[in-house]
C-alpha cells in the first residue's frame, strides 16, 4: 500500500506526480481498490480519529487522488506518444492517432500492432504507410471538388490517400469540424467515402492558430475522456482533471469524494457534488424519486388520493366524485373510495362510507399515506439542509462585509475575523453531509448498525444547529463569541468526521442493509 508520502501528496497538483514513472496518468495498469480499502481495516475510528484532526491523516471516507492541469495532461499524453512511437516505428502524429483509436491502452495497441499491423493501421484511418509527408502545392489542371473552382494558381493539399482539395476548402472543412462540431481525433479526409483520419501534422499545416489551439484542447479532452482513471472537474470553467483509481464496480462500497484545485468537491464515481455518506446508486435512486415525487410532495395538502386498485396517485381535477383511474381504468368514488358500480345513481350524495369495499380501500389508503409521510419526513430534512446551506452562505457573505468594516472601525485584524469563514465553511460542509444522511436513512433497513448511525446523525444535527444559531447573531456580538464559536466549529467538524468514518467503514464491510435493491454498476 502507499506510503505516508503518498497520502500527504493528497491535495497537490504539482508536477511531481506527472514525472513520477509510476504515475497513474501514464495509464494501463489495473489498480485494485482492495488495497485502497484494506487500509481502512481496524477499529481505530471514533475517539482516536478525533485526536488526529489537523494532521494529514487519511480517514476511512477519503480516497487517494491527484489533480492535473491541462499542461500536465498534455505532457502525459506526449510522454506516452514518445514511449510508444519507438516500439511501433511510427511518426509521433501517427502514433497519437493509433493510441487514440485504442483509447490510450498502449499494451493493447502494441500487441495488436505486432499481430495485425495492416488491420490496425486501416482501422485507425492510416491506410498502409503512416508517414504522410504531405505538402501544399499547385497542380496543373486541378479542379477542387468542394468549391468546383479550377483557377490555375490555386494552392491544394492532399494526404496520403490522394484526395486533393484546394487549401481554402480543406481549411474551411477542418475549421468547421474542430470549432463547430468539436471533433479532433476522428476527423476524416473530406474525400467521398474515405476513412483516413486527418493527422495532427496536416492540421498544423492547414488551420489558423485559434482553431489549432481548440484542436489541442479537444485532443486533451479525448485523452481524459478515454481513460477510466481520469475525469474532468465538473465545475463550470474549471480546466483541471482528477486522477482516481476507484472503479465503477467499487462504488457500492466506497464514496469517492475528490477535491479539485479549484476548490470544488465532487464524487469521482458520478461527478455530482459531494454526496457522502450516501453511495452513488443510492443518490441516483433518491434524486430520481425526488424528481418523480416533487409533485406528490406538493399535493400533500391538496386533493390527492390513490387508486384503490393499482395505487397510482390520482388528482381530483373537478367537482365530480366519479373517478376513473387512467392507469387501470378502475372506477371508484372519490368520497368513500368504494367501487363506483355499487353506488347506483346516488353519486352526488355519497352514502356508502361504511361499506366494506370502501373501508378496505381506506386501509390501503392509510398504508400508502404512511409511506408517503415517511418519504416526506426524510425529504423535508434533506431539503431543509440544502436550503439552510444556502442561507448560511448568504449570512456569511453579509457578515464578511460587516467584519471588513469592523476591521477598520474596531481595529480587528484580518486574522482575527477568519474564525467566521471557518464557521461558515463548517456549516456548509456539515449540512451537505447531513442532507445526504437523510437520503441514506430513507433507504436504510434497520439493523444493529442503524442506531449508531442515527445517534451520529442526531449529534451532528445538534452541533450544526448550535453553531448556526450563533452564526446569526448581530455582528457587534460576534467578536465576543469568537472562542465559543471556534469551539463549536471544531466540534461540528469532529462530529462530521465521526459520522462519515462510521458510515464509510460499514459501507466498506457491507454492514448496511438497504430496503431496496440498487442497480449495481457493471
Amino acid at each position: 500500500m502507499e506510503s505516508d508520502d503518498e497520502i500527504n501528496s493528497f491535495h497537490t497538483s504539482d508536477d511531481e506526480g506527472m514525472d513520477d514513472p509510476d504515475s497513474d496518468l501514464s495509464n494501463g495498469e489495473d489498480s485494485d481498490v482492495e488495497d485502497e480499502l484494506e487500509e481502512y481495516d481496524g477499529d481505530d475510528v471514533g475517539f482516536e480519529s478525533q485526536e488526529k484532526i489537523g494532521k494529514q491523516q487519511k480517514k476511512p471516507y477519503e480516497v487517494d487522488f491527484k489533480v492535473y492541469s491541462p499542461e500536465d495532461i498534455q505532457r502525459a499524453q506526449q510522454r506516452t506518444v514518445d514511449e510508444v512511437k519507438g516500439v511501433l516505428q511510427q511518426s509521433p502524429e501517427a502514433t497519437a492517432i493509433l493510441l487514440r483509436s485504442f483509447r490510450w491502452n498502449r499494451d493493447k495497441l502494441i500487441d495488436a500492432y505486432m499481430e495485425r499491423r495492416e488491420a490496425v493501421l486501416e482501422q485507425a484511418g492510416l491506410g498502409d504507410e503512416a508517414s504522410s509527408g504531405a505538402k501544399i502545392m499547385t497542380v496543373p489542371g486541378f479542379c477542387c471538388e468542394i468549391c468546383w473552382d479550377d483557377s490555375p494558381e490555386m494552392q491544394t493539399f492532399a494526404m496520403k490517400c490522394g484526395h486533393r482539395f484546394c487549401v481554402d476548402c480543406y481549411k474551411r472543412y477542418l475549421t468547421t469540424k474542430i470549432k463547430e462540431e468539436g471533433e479532433a481525433s476522428r476527423i476524416r479526409c473530406p474525400g467521398d467515402d474515405c476513412s483516413r483520419v486527418v493527422d495532427s501534422k496536416s492540421i498544423d499545416l492547414l488551420v489558423s492558430e485559434d482553431a489549432h489551439d481548440r484542436y489541442l484542447e479537444l485532443l486533451t479532452r479525448t485523452y481524459v475522456d478515454d481513460l477510466e482513471n481520469l475525469k474532468w472537474c465538473p465545475a463550470p470553467n474549471c480546466v483541471y482533471a482528477v486522477d482516481c483509481k476507484i472503479k465503477p464496480r467499487d462504488l457500492p462500497r466506497i464514496v469517492p469524494t475528490v477535491h479539485c484545485d479549484c476548490s470544488h468537491e465532487f464524487c469521482f464515481g458520478c461527478t455530482l457534488n459531494d454526496h457522502q455518506p450516501a453511495p452513488c446508486m443510492l443518490v441516483r435512486k433518491w434524486l430520481k424519486k425526488c424528481e418523480d415525487d416533487s409533485e406528490t410532495a406538493n399535493w400533500i395538502s391538496a386533493n390527492t388520493k390513490e387508486c384503490p386498485r393499482c395505487h397510482s396517485t390520482i388528482e381530483k381535477n373537478g367537482g365530480c366524485n366519479h373517478m376513473t383511474c387512467r392507469k387501470c381504468r378502475h372506477e371508484f368514488c372519490w368520497m368513500c373510495m368504494g367501487v363506483w358500480s355499487e353506488h347506483g345513481t346516488s353519486w352526488y350524495n355519497c352514502n356508502r362510507y361504511e361499506e366494506r369495499s370502501g373501508a378496505e380501500a381506506r386501509d390501503a389508503q392509510a398504508k400508502s399515506r404512511q409511506s408517503l409521510e415517511r418519504y416526506l419526513h426524510y425529504y423535508n430534512r434533506y431539503a431543509n439542509h440544502e436550503q439552510s446551506a444556502k442561507l448560511d452562505k448568504d449570512i456569511y457573505i453579509k457578515t464578511e462585509k460587516k467584519m471588513t468594516q469592523l476591521q477598520t472601525t474596531a481595529g480587528m485584524s484580518w486574522i482575527e475575523v477568519q474564525f467566521l469563514e471557518a464557521a461558515s465553511q463548517a456549516l456548509q460542509q456539515c449540512r451537505q453531509t447531513l442532507k445526504w444522511t437523510y437520503a441514506f436513512a430513507f433507504y436504510l433497513a434497520r439493523n444493529n448498525q442503524t442506531e449508531i448511525f442515527e445517534d451520529n446523525q442526531k449529534d451532528l444535527e445538534f452541533a450544526v444547529e448550535n453553531l448556526s444559531e450563533m452564526f446569526e447573531k448581530p455582528v457587534d456580538q460576534l467578536a465576543g463569541l469568537k472562542v465559543d464559536m471556534m469551539d463549536k466549529t471544531s466540534y461540528c467538524n469532529r462530529r462530521r468526521i465521526i459520522l462519515l468514518s462510521d458510515t464509510a467503514e460499514n459501507l466498506k464491510n457491507g454492514n448496511w442493509e438497504f430496503n431496496v435493491d440498487f442497480d449495481t454498476p457493471r
Binding site: Y173, E181, T296, S312, C325, S371, N515
Partner: protein, 152 residues
C-alpha cells in the same frame, strides 16, 4: 460565399446535363431546391412512380450536408423503404454530418437515393415509424388525471 458559388455552379451543370431519372423542378433561390426522381430499373415497389425531393441548404453548404426529405402531395407519395419514414425523413448516413463528404453534391445525393431504392425489396417502414412520426406532433395531455407509480 462558398455556398452561393458552389450552388450556382451546380445549377449551371444541372441545367446543361442531369443524370437519368432526375428532373430539376424548382431552384428559384440558393436555399431550397425541388427535384423529381424516378428509379431506373423495374423494381415493382417504385416502378412507374415519380418521387419528389426537397433540398435545403445552409450557409455552410457543402461543408455541411444539405437537409433532404421526400415530399408528399397530391401527385407524389413517400417511397416505401425501411430507411424512409412516412413523413419523408430519410435515414441515410451520407446525409449525416459525421459521414457527409463536402465532395458530394445535389446530383450525387440524388443518385445515392436512387440506388437506395433500387436495391430495396422490402415493402416496409423503419421500425418505430409510427412513434417517430407521432413524436413530431404534440402529445395531447390527459386533462382528467395525472398518475404515477408510487412504488418506493
Amino acid at each position: 460565399m462558398l455556398a452561393t458559388r458552389r450552388l450556382q455552379k451546380e445549377l449551371q451543370k444541372m441545367h446543361a446535363q442531369l443524370a437519368p431519372g432526375l428532373t430539376l423542378v424548382k431552384a428559384e433561390d440558393l436555399t431550397e431546391w425541388v427535384l423529381d426522381m424516378r428509379v431506373l430499373d423495374d423494381n415493382p415497389l417504385y416502378t412507374g412512380k415519380t418521387f419528389r425531393l426537397k433540398f435545403m441548404f445552409s450557409q455552410k453548404y457543402p461543408i455541411e450536408p444539405p437537409e433532404v426529405i421526400f415530399v408528399q402531395d397530391a401527385e407524389h407519395t413517400i417511397p416505401m423503404h425501411p430507411h424512409i419514414y412516412s413523413n419523408g425523413i430519410i435515414c441515410l448516413n451520407i446525409l449525416d454530418k459525421e459521414a457527409w463528404s463536402p465532395a458530394q453534391n445535389v446530383e450525387s445525393v440524388c443518385i445515392s437515393l436512387q440506388s437506395m431504392l433500387t436495391g430495396n425489396d422490402k415493402n416496409e417502414r423503419p421500425p418505430g415509424d409510427e412513434e417517430f412520426v407521432r413524436g413530431n406532433t404534440r402529445r395531447p395531455r390527459d386533462i382528467n388525471f395525472y398518475f404515477h407509480d408510487n412504488a418506493v
